[in-house]
């Protein structure tokens, strides 16, 4: 049996690609997902269905690959959750529905991917969304993913205090962070209408799962792709302990920025020396696979709240964000601060997502200069790949974070917090005494923004580190594409989920129309 397409990974990109490709009833698609599938709202477990409990609630869930990564030499190993469920990470994330800066996509175009300029990407951003607040040239109104922003009557006290503190500091008021010109402080666009995490499973697969030309197979772990010469012909997949081989005319890898380079390498596509080292026969020497690992490193600036300030775990935990440009930076909006209205201790430090420690600002470096790498530990498909995020190798990354931490501390001293904040917890005063002290604190405390990307970047064939062309086709091979966060040439200056969905829409369109 041979499908027209096999899509590996039913996540933010894969679920979209499978849905779009099966709009043509003559095309058959097999959608493989390692995790379980929940076919309707009723059967969705609460931790997946409800988005108020953010990342920490799913840190140790079966719906999560539960990877670990290295941040810096000084930091403890960090938990790297990635969705293992239909909807992928869109089914377990914080639902921040934020587009990158237009400059991100224009950079991609400038680096030899001319079909990815902001102008050319915009129709796909619009296609995927129903924005319930804005309807104009920049926003979509009939897409599968529903987005909203909390309106003033629903703003929590600490959201309001943050907003006021940012305005007092001099930042611009930004009612719509998805406007291409936006910068400053405003309510986050969120894909969680009525608190429901509107994943690509809910938004897209519910449109397509009845189609007879779409075969969805959850609980299936891909071992590798097999080739006939340089043509990808089949996928070797494990289902309930048994191994099967299934063929397709074209294979589309949407296993995410960890899974896709991992599967490429397991299939013999990757840096030849690394593959030889772990005993995988080389099909194609692709030195860029696993390299160029990008993310948004985070630091938490946290406060203990006054006894009268109520912390309710049922309330939305993220309503507002500030996007700004670091002092002396040429990258617009290279920094982000999320206001977290219900902070909890990290799970790997004994925290529980229901027990509050206070409130915090989450400072993120939205455009790193540094990069890390992903390598294989072994040729066993069940072995976790080595994720080295390698944060803060670049002084510019550190200096921007130090400056950001100091700014957040200042924001926390605004009088708008008078009824809320009792005292600062982190960073402690001694960490603020010198740049060296703050650097030490940052290197210890930094953790992932959950936006791993760029590990199989797109680019022209002239770039030796480019893994795929701008249509997602793996350079030097036939019948194989990658379509997910891996192919970003650089990380976007925003949470990446919407961009990954856009990549899904964009590549699906390229598969259909060339």
């Amino acid at each position: 049996m041979k499908y027209d397409y096999i899509v590996i990974g039913a996540g933010s990109a894969g679920a979209i690609i499978a849905t779009r490709l099966t709009e043509d009833p003559t095309k058959s698609v097999l959608l493989l997902e390692a995790g379980p599938d929940y076919a309707d709202m009723e059967s969705l477990p609460d931790e997946v269905r409800y988005g108020n409990a953010i990342a920490t609630s799913i840190m140790t869930s079966d719906h999560n690959w539960q990877f670990t990564g290295r941040a810096t030499d000084e930091a403890e190993p960090m938990l790297v959750p990635r969705g293992k469920i239909t909807g992928g990470s869109s089914a377990i994330n914080a639902q921040i529905f934020l587009r990158g800066d237009p400059g991100d996509y224009d950079n991609w175009a400038e680096w030899g991917n001319d079909r990815w300029s902001f102008e050319k990407s915009l129709p796909f951003f619009r296609k995927l969304e129903t924005d319930t607040n804005y309807s104009d040239d920049f926003h979509g109104t009939d897409g599968p993913i529903i987005a909203h922003r909390f309106q003033p009557d629903a703003w929590l006290d600490s959201s309001k205090a943050f907003y006021q503190a940012c305005l007092d500091y001099g930042f611009q008021d930004t009612p719509d962070h998805n406007n291409p010109d936006s910068t400053g402080v405003g309510p986050l666009p969120l894909n969680n209408p009525n608190g429901i995490r509107w994943s690509t499973n809910i938004g897209y697969l519910s449109l397509s799962r009845h189609r007879l030309n779409l075969t969805m197979r959850p609980d299936c772990v891909v071992h590798r792709i097999e080739f006939d010469g340089n043509r990808a012909t089949s996928v070797v997949v494990e289902s309930d302990g048994e191994v099967f081989k299934v063929e397709a005319k074209e294979i589309i890898l949407s296993a995410g920025a960890v899974g896709s380079p991992q599967i490429l390498m397991l299939s013999g596509v990757g840096p030849a020396d690394h593959l030889s080292e772990i005993g995988i026969p080389v099909v194609k020497d692709a030195p860029g696979v696993g390299q160029n690992l990008r993310d948004h490193p985070l630091a938490y600036i946290s406060w203990k709240t006054k006894p009268d300030h109520k912390l309710d775990h049922n309330n939305p935990r993220l309503q507002f964000a500030l996007r700004y440009t670091a002092e002396g930076s040429e990258f617009k909006n290279d920094m982000i601060v999320y206001m977290n209205t219900f902070a909890t201790e990290r799970v790997n430090r004994g925290g529980n997502h229901m027990d509050p420690t206070g409130i915090r600002m989450i400072l993120g470096l939205d455009l790193e200069v540094g990069s890390g790498e992903l390598k294989l530990e072994s040729s066993d498909p069940h072995a976790e790949p080595i994720l080295d995020y390698n944060y803060f190798e670049e002084e510019f990354d550190l200096s921007r974070m130090r400056e950001g931490v100091r700014m957040c501390v200042t924001l926390g001293e605004n009088e708008s917090w008078n009824d809320i904040i009792e005292s600062r917890i982190d960073p402690p005063d001694d960490a603020l005494e010198s740049d060296d002290a703050l650097t030490d604190w940052l290197k210890r405390e930094v953790t992932t923004g959950h936006h791993i990307s760029c590990t199989a970047k797109m680019g022209p064939a002239t770039d030796p580190m480019a893994v795929v062309s701008q249509t997602g086709k793996v350079h030097g091979l036939e019948g194989l594409r990658v379509a997910d966060a891996s192919i970003m040439p650089d990380c976007v200056r925003s949470n990446i989920n919407v961009t990954v969905m856009m990549i899904g829409e964009r590549i699906a369109d390229m598969v259909i129309h060339g």
């Binding site: 009845h210 309930d240 099967f244």
Partner: protein
Amino acid sequence: MKYTHIVVGAGSAGATLATRLSEDPERSVLLLEAGPDYPDLETMPVDLKFGWGTGADFVVEDEHNWKYTAKSTAQGTTMDVPRGKVTGGTSAINGQVFLRAIPEDFEHWVSMGNDEWSYEQVLPYYRKLESDTDFSDDFHGTEGPIIVRRHPLDELQPDQAAFYNACVAAGYAENPDHNHPDATGVGPYPLNNPEGIRWSTAIGFLSMARHRINLTIRPNCTTLRVLFDDIRATGVEVESGGERFVVNGDEIILSAGPIGSPHLLMLSGIGPADQLAKHGISLVKNVPGVGQNLRDHPTVHVSWRAQPDVPPPPQEVGPQKVALRYTAPGSDIKNDMIKVMRFRKIDRLLVMSVGLYLALGKGELKLQSPDPDVQPSLDYNYLQEPEDRRRLREGVRLCLELVDMKEFEGVVGERINPDDAALASDNALDEWLMRSVSTMHHISCTAKMGPDSDPMAVVDQHGRVKGVQSLRVVDGSIMPDCTRANTNVPIMMMAERIADFIKAGE
């Protein structure tokens, strides 16, 4: 994309067939089911999971039941015909009686020109499909997917013990294993409900196969018709989520049951030419036998009030179903009669059902509309044969004789049905029978197998539909005559056997 096999219906036959065919990773199987699928015991609704409901109070929720209606006789009221609409099919909603057809049934099939279906040839498939937890010998299997047990005699409820003891006192053979080829007389029915769980083909078979990438199970998909290129079946048209799809296969196998399969054949242009013409369906092949030869086990229920101190069976015990199989006096058809008794909790009646395990009469299934959503008309046409009436009359009287025996003292009270007037004469009893007769839920034989010399045969011995290519029927439809047994196990066996025919290229 093209599957090697499309199996329509994930019931007693279809689930078995899809499981066996997909053992070969070179075959790709699409299994279409109109009802929902419950992939594991945890998600299975309680009324499907537990077999406490007997045949008479079948699971009737719309979503798991086709809810057909039928005519029993001219005098009878409209009869409900439940058929499973869920993975496992009717094996997921039935009374779990795990009874084999007897060697004489297969002698009969062979005599009708089906020499591949002798008892000797089918026995390995009976053994293959079962794990009998009570008997292990040349006649029983111990490693099959369907788990079988019997209630021990020393654990019988008082009403069941009375029935058993009365039968023994009346001279019937004690029969510890109804599935022994020589069995006759009284004994506990073999039941496929270990720990009370209705061990359907969804549980027994699909659980072994549903992880296979070469098996695609699509529940909630209604098959509308088979598509042909000239006389070669090429695919099916299916409705899913309100949309229509065409799926192609090298071979199409209808396992939609004795109602669904002939219905689909006719909707696809295969059936009696005059019926199809009447409903404007283009003829692919005139096959007059489609829908004809409808067989079942007609039954009537004789009932008494239970004495006040007779306890109803606890739910966890469920219906125990001691059964008497016997040959009607004056009949030359062995084991042609069945009696089984149960305690009906809702009105505290003891109901002794007497049924014809091999009726001479037959009915028919006809197309009512070209709309696939309109059920075909079902006329069971019971008791038109005088011999069927005679055997059932005597069967009723025999029930009364059994209950008059001392073994029933303190168990049975006032008789409710039939009343004394109905028992006054053969004519009066016949009238009661014609009003009261109903289904034992074993509709079958509506697309029977047989040699080319039989103009009413629809399929050959391997289930291939005559006169067309790449199309089989594998389910209770293709039995040439009904079995002297509940039909579920024979249907599973037939699917096992035909799976091997297909694998052997036959």
